[in-house]
Amino acid sequence: MIDSLYLAWRYIVFNRKKTITLITCISLITFLPFALKALLSESEHQLMSRAATTPLLVGAKGNSLDLVMNSLYFSKEEPDFITMKSADEIIDSGLALPIPLYTRFQAREYPIVGTSLDYFEFRHYKIEQGRAFAMLGECLIGADVASKLNLSIGDSILSSPENLFDLAGIYPLKMVITGVLEKTNSADDKAVFVDLKTAWVIQGLGHGHQDVKKMEEAGAIVNQSKNLVTASSKVKQYTEINTDNLESFHFHGDPSIYPLTAIITIPQDDKSATILRGRYLSDQQDQQIVRPKEVIEDLLGNIFRIKDFIDGVVLVVAIAMILAVMLVFSLSLRLRQKEINTIFHLGCSRATVVQLIAAEILIIVLASGILCYLSLLVLQHYQENIVHTLFIS
């Protein structure tokens, strides 16, 4: 057998281009169904594990999938806003604990998640380094953000302006990193967490500036009445919050109408959940309450229906490929008839010729298997990101 393998190896090396093409084709057709299965399994895991641990989600009426994807995976599909009043109503009902989320902004392409400290307790997260945000302008970053951007405690990160050419728009806020979350293998690894108020400051609902009264002599006041002071552009607005200017930060308007993208709602018990869900059934209600698990199950149902179709296509392609490979081998045998005759003429048996060809097939199949396995290892390394890009981002 070793001699057969040696001769087969020499033949394969001599016909390396043909062999490489053959190996690539076989590997590819073997790789495809495994890759598809691995990606779907990973997507199911990523989507479902998070959805299953989030009991209820309140958001604006509209596409429930967008609401879930944005709230659980911080996808870029932004649902309509609800207000802080909705969270207050849930607290007042005594049926559930609300965890508000505001995910409109980004910092260096990573989502900024405005929330409360309850979020980390709800997800059972530990802070690997430092501490959670405590003051306005502080942030806690996910493990991937820290490693990819090479950031650690004491560094700062700027929020990204929504539109570079909008001079009157939202200005970037420099946020100080107070902690890094442990690796969670979820969307939280790729997020920058801030207090809701910090998110509202980024939006401009809250701001800090020099004391206008102290700038009166410098001509900073344009107009002044009993209740209203109009200042000129001489008054400096702060783009960074620190202990020196913290006192100057303030919010305008009624905080109950400040925006949220969703509220994670943790009911006291099943009964509370049912009562709460009932309150959002009215047609007049401009909000919806969803079970993320049900929404993701619907999504996965569609994905798996597509997967069944793709499996069918792959099967047909695989059959065609196997037939093509058989044709290649049979044509190759015909082309090698002279060589086979030589081997017979020298005194070799048919069994040895079969053994020689079997050795070639074995090497090709083995090489294809190894290539397929290595490709699957590479896929396994990147599948989390691929799934995130394909199904979440």
């Binding site: 001699d3 020499r10 033949y11 090396v13 001599f14 030589t342 003429h345 020298l346 005194g347």
Partner: protein, 222 residues
């Protein structure tokens, strides 16, 4: 001793018919076969080696009729006793010279590839003047070098019967003499019988006997 009796063979096409009423070849005899193309010279070599089977008659070697052997027996007989130098060399293009020479040892259990065989292969190659080409693929060899490689492959298992189909056909005069000398030397050394098909009438004087297939008459070497 090879004895051919009432042999009749045809390919069943083109009206080709080979008929040999009686032919005896003695041990260690060196026979040259001449004749026009298509007269059946190569077919006779293939019949003697057991590659082809006659429709009628018999071929016996040392009183054993080989055309009554089974396929497997004929293969074993061929690989153990016959060294065949094919007209178009029949070398494998994906093997280098060394592997082509050693090829019979890799395709049958009847022969064992060991260091002694490798040394003998190197010596044979040296004798044939192709030692420097041992690691060259056969498609990079000249016709003469391919010829010598084919001769080495046939001689290596020390066969008792050497069948050479135009063994010197592609060689220049110098190499022709050198190769024939080597072939005769090896034949003598192994006390083997040599049956060589040739068109080269200059060489006929070196054989013990010449068989002319034109009319199947036996000619004296002298």
């Amino acid at each position: 001793m090879i004895n051919i009796d009432s042999l009749s063979f045809s390919y069943g096409r083109d009206g080709f018919q080979l008929s040999i009423p009686q032919l005896t070849i003695n041990e260690t005899e060196k026979i040259a076969i001449i004749g026009p193309s298509g007269s059946g010279k190569t077919s006779l070599l293939k019949l003697i080696s057991g590659i082809l089977l006659p429709q009628k008659g018999s071929i016996s070697i040392n009183n054993v009729i080989i055309n009554q052997f089974s396929d497997a027996e004929r293969r074993d007989y061929r690989i153990s006793n016959v060294g065949f130098i094919f007209q178009d060399f029949e070398l494998l293009e994906y093997l280098d010279t060394q592997d082509n020479i050693l090829h019979p040892y890799r395709i049958t259990r009847a022969l064992t590839l060991n260091p002694e065989v490798r040394t003998r292969a190197n010596n044979l190659a040296k004798e044939m003047g192709i030692q420097s080409k041992m690691k060259s693929l056969t498609n990079t060899l000249s016709q003469g070098e391919k010829q010598r490689t084919a001769i080495c492959r046939a001689m290596l298992p020390k066969p008792k019967l050497i069948l050479a189909d135009e063994a010197t056909g592609n060689l220049d005069p110098n190499n022709k003499t050198r190769i024939l000398d080597a072939l005769f030397r090896s034949t003598d050394k192994q006390k083997a019988t040599l049956i060589a098909v040739t068109h080269d009438h200059e060489l006929l004087g070196r054989f013990d006997r010449v068989i002319d297939f034109k009319d199947y008459c036996l000619l004296d070497a002298a």
